[in-house]
Amino acid sequence: MTERGTGPAGHDERDSWILATAPRAVAYAASLLRDAGRAEDVVQDCYCRLLQKATNYDLPRDGVKLLFRAITNACINLATRERPVLSLDTAGRGGEDGPRYAPADRSALQPERVLMYRELQQAVDEGLALLPLTQRAALQLKSLGHTQQEIAELLEVSVSNAGVLIHRARQTLAAHLAPFLTETAE
């Protein structure tokens, strides 16, 4: 995956950039929307809008940041409609109640570790689902290495507000993951 802060220049670079950034972008959108099919749609739309206005931006420098900002805005817009967002198609594409994402190859781990890892992943997933969308976005952006200042810009909130969002998200998630945190501490 591309490191933060890199972006496309020419056409080949543009495609390479999309290939490199799409997995994380879709994963981020899917986590916000809880719907993989819709997330792909949103991300494609965001890429297009960004590339159509490529001349207005310094994409090599700001591409990833702009992409995540566009995705965040689009997801918040979609999710705040307070409408049922369940889709018949998504059931087969990894929707909320559809098949879960396939686990990665964890063959290097011992079976009990694999089991625990899966439990942890599921618990993290459930914990994230408990969070309000802006808190979820803030925490995920933080986990991706964005600074508080950048998160504030991406979410269009003040820097202190971004800090509050992250703090509350961590509190809620920590409470949900308390059993795992205890094991880790031990």
């Binding site: 995956m1 997995p23 994380r24 739309d45 159509q52 049922p84 018949l88 925490l139 945190l181």
Partner: protein, 301 residues
């Protein structure tokens, strides 16, 4: 105790999802969408060139004024105002939302096949696509047309009907023509087939009346009143009289917002709950809709 590794776990969860994403599929999707929107890119190039011409014209006007020429601005004609509105419509974002109020005559609801038509509705439109839902209780019902021209009806979140583009029942197609609004097409029709009259401008609005020229046909349009923002040139409100069921019907559209919408919003599935039943075979769908129409009181305006 060390800081809990929450962020690491969240990052792991994200990476886990990312591993399952087919990046090539996303790239293909982006290529397809960019190719589909390439005329807009071309338009942008033209727009830039047009801007240069405008700048040149502005410079010429400035020079003329500088050399003492008297250039009195002529009041814009109705046609020019509509042309400016058309240009604006073509430049603005594609997804527009209108509040819709209709006046149907008694009997014109026949054949509506449980279309949710009561009260004020909200129309979202992008080109030939649209969906309509109630203003007061969004999410309870909707109907529309998707990117494949398929017309769908969701009288309740648990039940949907969809007709292929070439299988849309004529009555339903008529309601589509009545309630859908494609701004650029409408303005082109008005320019080509209507006599245009400009009323005395209100404070910030130009009012243009369009009447179908004798012997002309403009799809379903009979007449229109356009309210165009003087500054932005955007059409803020339209009252259309359209041919409908061998008579006419009046529909008023008021622009609410322009905001990009996800493609899925124009599809049936996005307006249904999970597990909802979808009927796609025409005869079956028609039979069920007719049955529903008989058992459920058809909403009246």
């Amino acid at each position: 105790m060390n800081e809990p590794p929450l962020e690491q776990w969240v990052r792991d969860a994200l990476e886990e999802r990312a591993r399952t994403v087919d990046a090539a599929k996303i790239l293909d999707g982006v290529h397809t969408r960019l190719a589909a929107s390439s005329p807009r890119v071309a338009t942008r190039g033209l727009r830039r060139r047009r801007w240069l011409w405008r700048a040149a014209l502005a410079a010429a006007v400035f020079l003329a004024a500088f050399w003492g020429l008297q250039l009195r601005p002529q009041p814009a004609s109705a046609e020019m105002i509509v042309r400016q509105a058309l240009q604006k419509a073509q430049e603005e974002p594609l997804d527009r939302c209108y509040q819709v109020v209709h006046e149907l005559k008694p009997g014109q609801m026949e054949g509506s096949m449980l279309l949710p038509l009561q009260g004020e509705t909200r129309l979202w439109t992008r080109g030939g696509r649209f969906w309509i839902e109630p203003v007061r209780r969004p999410g309870t019902w909707a109907w529309g047309r998707d990117e494949q021209g398929r017309v769908w009806v969701a009288p309740a979140p648990q039940l949907g009907f969809r007709f292929a583009a070439d299988e849309v029942p004529p009555a339903l197609a008529q309601f589509c023509d009545l309630f859908h609004l494609q701004m650029d097409t409408l303005l082109q029709d008005a320019l080509a087939h209507c006599d245009l009259h400009r009323e005395e401008p209100a404070s910030a609005t130009e009012i243009i009346r369009a009447e179908l020229k004798p012997g002309h046909q403009a799809r379903t349009l009979r007449s229109a009143v356009l309210e165009i923002d003087t500054q932005s040139k955007a059409v803020r409100r339209l009252v259309l009289v359209r041919n409908f069921q061998r008579a006419t019907a009046q529909v008023a559209f008021t622009l609410v917002e322009t905001r990009p919408q996800a493609e899925v919003r124009y599809r049936l599935e996005d307006h249904l709950q999970q597990g909802a039943r979808v009927h796609t075979v025409r005869q079956e769908a028609l039979r069920l809709l007719e049955k529903l129409r008989r058992t459920v009181k058809t909403p009246r305006p």
